[in-house]
Symmetry: C2
Subunit: 316 residues, 2 copies
């Protein structure tokens, strides 16, 4: 693609929702779903910070969509539309592959692309990709990060640490199965699961930066302490086969981030709600009066690692 006009022409192949107005207008227009709240989120990816420059552009597009959909899922919201801020850097082949991946991701997550803005960056500047996702949720059933109550269990809805191993595979530090690399490059947040769980959750968020750091944020926002049982953290068979399941492997999994599963504060009774057979809901900790995060496993208290998760540094 030769430039902005060609890029926008390619986007028109994706943005077929009538609200997108064929991308010839400066704004999209939608009638909001009646009787529902709007959930609004915005996440950006920066080349070399949030993804490796070697990452295939289709996967970068997928991840841009998935990280935003994950925030909607964590609020129990169904996607209703997205606006993208895209930065052209003069690599038409990369842009074309990105658009292909964007189409796949928007189709997978049923997220209509409604508009956005395309800018051109000076040569050599890292790509900066922005997406705003809009969702609709049942009023009064949008759990905050700050709603945990002392006595609540902390739950997760999927394996922790697969994406962290996938990053190490992408970096060439490990050799491992494609499923782990895929977990890193193509996270699949579960919107339907979020919608089912939201009405029963006191607090909900997604795990993007790492189980430990995201759990501590939930505890901090709720004015509570949280204790995590490392032995309870679910690891996938592939992860155990590759990296084991000892304390060190579990700490690595719990601090790696990019899991994009749900993190939930809710009483034990939540285990009895009806979920699809494919879903898992695993208690990994407990909230109590106090502050901060503590860890334990079968061997007793576990000292906190120096790093609880991804804190917006740069990739290696």
């Amino acid at each position: 693609m030769a430039g902005e006009a060609d890029f926008i022409a390619a986007l028109r192949g994706i943005a077929r929702h009538p609200a997108a107005r064929g991308l010839i207008d400066d704004a999209a227009v939608i009638a909001p779903p009646p009787g529902r709240d709007l959930v609004l989120t915005h996440d950006a990816l920066v080349e070399g910070v949030h993804y490796l420059p070697s990452c295939p552009p289709r996967d970068v597009a997928w991840k841009l969509v998935a990280v935003n959909v994950s925030d909607l899922a964590a609020k129990g919201a169904d996607p209703i539309g997205a606006l993208m801020g895209y930065a052209l850097t003069g690599d038409a082949g990369w842009d074309a592959e990105f658009v292909a991946g964007l189409g796949e991701a928007c189709a997978h997550f049923a997220l209509p692309l409604l508009g956005g803005d395309t800018v051109s960056l000076p040569p050599g500047a890292p790509r900066v990709l922005n997406l705003t996702a809009i969702g609709a949720a049942a009023p009064g059933a949008v759990p905050a990060r700050s709603g945990a109550v002392a006595g609540d269990r902390l739950w997760v809805t999927g394996a922790i640490g697969d994406a962290g191993l996938g990053l190490r595979i992408a970096l060439g530090e490990l050799t491992g199965p494609a499923s782990l690399l895929d977990a890193y490059r193509r996270p699949r947040p579960d919107v339907a699961l979020g919608r089912l769980i939201a009405p029963h959750a006191h607090a909900m968020a997604d795990i993007s930066d790492g189980l430990l750091i995201d759990a501590r944020r939930m505890a901090d926002a709720s004015g509570l302490a949280v204790d995590i049982d490392l032995d309870a953290v679910p690891l996938s068979r592939e992860a155990i086969a590759l990296a084991g399941s000892d304390r060190r492997a579990r700490l690595a999994a719990a601090t790696a981030g990019d899991d994009y599963v749900l993190l939930i504060a809710a009483p034990a009774t939540i285990a009895s709600i009806c979920l699809p057979e494919s879903a898992i809901l695993v208690p990994v900790g407990r909230f109590a009066a106090g502050a901060g995060i503590t860890l334990h496993d079968g061997g007793g208290a576990v000292p906190l690692p120096p790093r609880l998760g991804y804190e917006h540094g740069r990739l290696p």
Copy 2:
């Protein structure tokens, strides 16, 4: 400010709307105004592309908000919220000034900051600033760019070319009054005027890239030709005093961009709607069957300039 946490803490001083949830959540939650359509727009500014690196950060923030509000105004929408994608580049003083300007602009345009994402760019990368603005409009009264009808007049709602002269003042090419520099750095799109005019407009957009290029886009989107009377293009007294009002000055004004006034296709009867005394509504052209853009003035047909407006190049 020392980093992302400090920056977000400063933003909390602005994001006081309850939907922003104190910026501790990953998403904002709002109840949409009942019975109204949502208008969604996203515009980005890139340092060195959309603003000069020497531009005061307060004015950059103002412009980021204003260019998005201008798109809402052009759809007859009232602002209801915004999400910002901000890129930290390690200059805490710049960031602090930006936040101050963001607060001024959000207050001026009654645009609540509801959330967003802050990322860190590698040293030396140009700043990339993204904003998504959400507005609410009366259903069925959101004019598209593509709705012009043969016989419609083309109207503008303010002086054309002030910002272009302001840019030349900012570049040191001209010495001129502060009001022109201000027109360039602090555009003031008129939301109330957009709301009044929208129900009467066949097509509406804002003038961001230049009167000629934006008029041609409206004609193209509507499948029509447009002819513009250069002599009718309103110039401010300050602009005339600085640059004159001959054909050359008018062509410069009509291709400079950054005006952020409304561009309207509507029949002559729109002149009779009740507008505030401060508002102007000036016919500058006419749509007809055909394609493309033509110009004339008292001297007859005027050849098209080589450049109809700002086409996403880089600033000088």
